[in-house]
């Protein structure tokens, strides 16, 4: 328990300066590294002929979609013909069409759901040019959308920004430098980074074993930093070559938590900035607030933290209490449920990693989620269903703002004013867009899950009987729709049915929500600013934090309660109360 607390305390210390740095980048402010990066960026703008004009939300969304589409087609092509291309020492063949479709959507949407095992399904070229490349671009896309969204709803500038400029700035100033440093740290801990083929060694028993290797460290760093989560190897971060030590485990934890948390801080500062601009002479007073969090950001950060800690506690306690059937059989359960966990991480670090990877929608795993206790496995599932507990690559923040708008709508009415957030009125148009985002998520998860359990093609993939089987299905679609990408593994998912349905879930889960959210930003931007008085609903105090948490649980958790009741909850009850 203590190690979890220390880990989280260090996280808070790390996230604040990073948030501050991101804020400077999002608002085009001076940073210490400008002399270097400005030159690189200018060169790229010149080559790509980017003029950096402000875009409307529609232009921004179209640029985002077109850029993603180009990458999808190029990537798909490479995956199909990887067998005859370069850097393929292990002579891996081209990928099957539906799997390629699934894989390319998966990586473009920052989901990184893998229906293949990296060591046997991808050539080094694909790993580098498709997988690692997309890990950068999909994360940059997400953060760019988030920045545009923040600009829109805080209403600081005329447009929502320029997509191309955003993507370049995020990549050169955040993703690349950070991932280089993290990559080197991982190499120091023993993660391989090589283009040599699989090593074959003779084991002590005298047999031959293939040791899969490759350019792992480079992928590993961006995998976490960009909350991507797709492993180089099938077993992801539980294998020693991806995650060898407790230190590498911590590095990976921090790298996936860093940017989503920082996004909230960036947002908070942008929201505080908006106030500063308005009041003008009260700058000095507000500046004090700005230095750390920004009051609006602080509320959201606090609400997310509460959701995260509640989930973490449940997951940890569930894992800690172990499996009663094994205890009955005479197996010692004092260290908790160790099935599917790495001994070098133990229950605490595994529970923390599991909750983190699903809350921050990374999808990397350092233990097998299929082997978690029923309630321990419910938490990662639930957090993907909520999809707003920090969430990945800026998307989590945008989703949380949807719940904020919902909370504001109810609370605003309750104090006798038509609802407003950040000095903008919330009216029918915004509610429509929020409704789209709120409906699409359960529709994808529950709809596809129902389809899977009702059709033969879907049922073929389910490898466990009963309630756990349903959990497998729910987990797979929750992971897809939330663009998380972790697997409850165990599911035999490389079939036409699973490849196509999860591909669609990932696609719609990502783009419909993102476009609707950009539209909300555009609509906020176009609105007349309303005045703030003591009669205005405060969205930056403790009361609102609790209301927000309450709204998230009522709206999101209750939606999934019946499904969870038949899955993990039923499994838990049957396990503990025979």
């Amino acid at each position: 328990m203590l190690q979890i607390i220390i880990t989280l305390a260090i996280y808070i210390a790390l996230v604040i300066p990073v948030g501050n740095y991101m804020y400077h980048i999002a608002t085009n402010r001076k940073t210490f590294a400008d002399p270097v990066f400005n030159r690189i960026d200018r060169m790229m703008y010149k080559v790509c002929r980017i003029k950096g004009e402000g875009m409307t939300w529609k232009q921004y969304a179209i640029s985002l979609l077109m850029t993603n589409a180009v990458m999808v087609f190029a990537g798909y092509f490479i995956l199909r013909v990887q067998g005859i291309l370069l850097a393929n020492p292990n002579q891996i063949e081209g990928m099957e069409p539906t799997l390629s479709f699934n894989t390319i959507i998966s990586f473009m949407t920052n989901t990184n759901l893998q229906h293949y095992a990296g060591e046997s399904g991808l050539s080094y070229l694909s790993q580098m040019v498709v997988i690692t490349f997309m890990m950068f671009t999909s994360a940059a896309t997400g953060y760019a959308a988030c920045m545009a969204f923040c600009r829109g709803i805080t209403g600081n500038s005329k447009g929502v920004g320029n997509f191309y400029e955003d993507v370049i700035r995020i990549t050169t100033r955040i993703l690349l430098p950070f991932s280089i440093v993290i990559g080197i740290l991982l190499i120091w801990q023993g993660v391989p980074q090589t283009l040599a083929g699989t090593a074959t060694v003779e084991t002590i028993e005298g047999r031959l074993q293939d040791i899969a290797m490759g350019p792992v460290a480079a992928l590993e760093s961006i995998k976490h930093l960009g909350t991507n989560g797709g492993g180089f190897f099938g077993a992801n971060s539980s294998t020693p070559f991806e995650n060898p030590t407790i230190i590498s485990n911590l590095i990976e934890l921090y790298s996936m938590m860093l940017l989503p948390g920082a996004c909230v801080i960036t947002f908070g500062k942008m929201a505080a900035e908006r106030k500063k601009e308005k009041t003008g002479n009260a700058v000095a007073k507000i500046k004090r607030n700005v230095t750390c969090f920004g009051s609006q950001g602080r509320t959201i950060f606090a609400a997310m933290s509460i959701l995260f800690l509640v989930g973490l506690t449940v997951c940890y306690l569930a894992e800690k209490s172990g499996n009663p059937l094994l205890a009955e059989a005479g197996l010692d359960q004092t260290v908790g449920n160790m099935e599917g966990k790495e001994v070098r991480f133990g229950v605490a670090q595994s529970a923390l990693f599991t909750t983190t990877t699903t809350s921050f929608t990374t999808g990397t795993v350092n233990n097998m989620h299929d082997s978690l206790t029923p309630l321990g496995g419910m938490i990662p599932m639930l957090h993907m269903m909520l999809n707003c507990v920090f969430g990945g690559k800026g998307v989590g923040l945008m989703n949380m703002i949807m719940y904020v708008i919902l909370a504001v709508f109810l609370c605003g009415l309750m104090i006798g004013r038509t609802p407003e957030y950040l000095n903008k009125k919330i009216e029918g148009k915004e509610m429509k867009l929020v409704a789209i985002v709120l409906i699409i998520h359960p529709l994808l998860i529950l709809g596809f899950s129902a389809l899977a359990v009702m059709t033969g093609a879907g049922q073929e993939g389910i490898t466990n009987p009963g309630f756990h089987g349903l959990s497998q299905v729910l987990y797979e679609y929750a992971s897809s729709a939330a663009n998380n990408g972790s697997g409850f593994e165990g599911l035999a998912d490389n079939t036409y049915f699973w490849n196509i349905t999860t591909g669609l879930a990932m696609f719609f889960g990502r783009y419909i929500a993102m476009i609707a959210q950009l539209a909300i930003a555009g609509s906020f931007l176009a609105k007349r600013r309303v005045n703030e008085t003591v009669g205005t609903l405060r969205t930056d105090n403790v009361l609102f934090v609790f209301i927000l948490v309450f709204v998230v649980y009522i709206f999101a958790a209750l939606t999934f309660f019946p499904a969870l009741a038949l899955g993990p909850i039923a499994e838990h009850l049957v396990l503990w109360m025979p």
């Binding site: 709508f409 109810l410 609370c411 605003g412 009415l413 309750m414 104090i415 006798g416 004013r417 038509t418 609802p419 000095n423 919330i426 009216e427 029918g428 915004e430 509610m431 929020v434 409704a435 709120l438 409906i439 359960p442 529709l443 529950l446 709809g447 899950s449 129902a450 389809l451 359990v453 009702m454 309630f467 089987g469 349903l470 007349r528 600013r529 309303v530 005045n531 008085t533 003591v534 009669g535 205005t536 609903l537 405060r538 105090n541 009361l543 209301i547 009522i554 709206f555 209750l558 939606t559 999934f560 309660f561 019946p562 499904a563 038949l566 899955g567 039923a570 009850l573 049957v574 109360m577």
Partner: protein, 685 residues
Amino acid sequence: MEEQSKKTKFITKDIMKSAVIGSFQKLDPRYMIKNPVMFVVEIGFFITLVLTVFPTIFGDEANLRVYNGIVTVILFVTILFANFAESVAEGRGKAQAETLKKTKKDTTAVLLMKDGSEKKISASELKKGDIVIVRTNEMIPGDGEVIEGIASVDESAITGESAPVTREAGGDFSSVTGGTTVVSDWLKVRITSDPGHSFLDKMISLVEGASRKKTPNEIALNILLISLTVIFLIVVVTLYCFADYSGVEIPVATLIALLVCLIPTTIGGLLSAIGIAGMDRVTRYNVIALSGKAVEACGDVDTMILDKTGTITYGNRLAADFIPVEGIKKEDLIDYAVMTSLSDATPEGKSVVELGKTMGTRMEESVADQVEFVEFTAQSKMSGVNLEDGTQIRKGAFDAIKKYVAAKGGKIPSDLEKIVTDISSLGGTPLVVCVENVIYGVIYLKDTVKPGLVERFERLREIGIKTIMCTGDNPLTAATIAKEAGVDGFIAECKPEDKIDEIKKEQGEGKIVAMTGDGTNDAPALAQADVGLAMNSGTSAAKEAANMVDLDSDPTKILEVVEIGKQLLITRGSLTTFSIANDAAKYFAIIPAMFTLVIPQMQVLNIMKLSTPFSAILSALIFNAIIIPCLIPIAMKGVKYKPMRSEKMLLKNMGIYGLGGIIVPFIGIKLIDIVVTPLLALLGL
């Protein structure tokens, strides 16, 4: 409910009767579809109805007929309750419309033809621009503008105010309303509205709720409710698949029961009733809101621009103090001042007596009979009494008394001039009192702030509403009154253009501005303001420009209207939160009941310890139905509103309707379960 009906005539017999009929008429699906949440319930009702007749049609077991029947009945009652709520609200509006309609008898109008001849036609044939003559005891046939003549008009049919008012051509008193009666003299009126579009027609259709359009906030809330309905539809349909996969058989009626319990039927059923009732409450204050949007905007008002005279002060100058000149005792001054005023029926005179009494005058009222009263005339500029011994006591304007005393050979005290100018510079009126040729002192008359306003402005400030006073007075006078009333700002020597400029300035800062006005020159400002309340006594230009009209022409009412607007929004938000929070308990009733047969361990989730799965589901469904009529009184009367800081109010309402919304159904469902269990046992469930 019994108690309320006595107090506020919440529901009369007539309303009850029409509401019951209305709730059945509204079952028509073509009407129901306007309320998507309740429409879903109605579809559920039809399905369970089919299941009652043919229990096996969707593959359920045959022994479920009774159960399906009970679900059908509860669903039917749920829809009726929701319709009833709406009908009651409409009924209350209609009752008011009826009284208005009575005044809208078909009157004959005397149309003045172009050649000067007169022609009698029916009032309903009058068109815009026609000119009519209305003589004593005739009813004014339509809304219009007086173009010639002056007359007193009885407007009690519209305003309820029995004293007739004067209407004359030109100026601010030139507008007349159809349905009012000329009680003396005659008027030549140019009709300003086409038949069916008169002010009265508009009012009737508004209070009836016939022309009610959904307000922007209502639309947004409706979207939220619809999306919740869609989400729960997804939940329930997919649950059927999951249950099937897990080997749990759920009867279709149970799924429908779960769906109906989860979708926000409570607020869905009450939403339109809340809106109608809100408008109705405004109407009860004798204010006609020309759109629901205006009432809603009231809740958001940040700044109120108020006229000084009439709104903040009475406009009459009342005694505020007695200031004796040097060498005179204050008691003596008070006594003589009161003596001069005992028979004085003017507001000023009365106020002198009143103030004197509070300051402890020794003068008895009976003294009035022993003295001779000298009335005020425009020539003398003073009034007073003559005692039996011939002593003359006078009070009056400074100049008049000065002359009067000088004529009698008296001296003017040296400090009098200063007292008089001090009072004048504060915007007050000095009345000098003298007995024979001795000047005693001065009565300080001043414009008085209406009682209770100071506290109200204080309350407004607490909820973040800024008040700005407009007055034609000089800055010094304005500042005095402003300070006394406790307004946040004032505009002295204010011209109508200044008002518009001020409104535009405030709106530029993103504020929502409300104002009252009556004159034609107020019209542009009324139109510019987000909430413009025109006085019914005002010109028709002002009324057209405003989005609300106060029939009593009491400008202070804007304060009430703002509170009603807020109350409307609070009621809407609170009941929505309550409705959504209810879902937690319903889940805990229904989910274990559904699965308990196959997974006995699910009983752990049955935290209410409901007796059987059937009773659990039916109890939740019954609770869901009866909570609607239980909340009708709140929907009609609005959540209690007391101005307070936004955080405090949020905490309070969240506590009552959010937390309460979670807890109440747990208790309610348990109680219902206790009642229905033996009944269900009799039916063999």
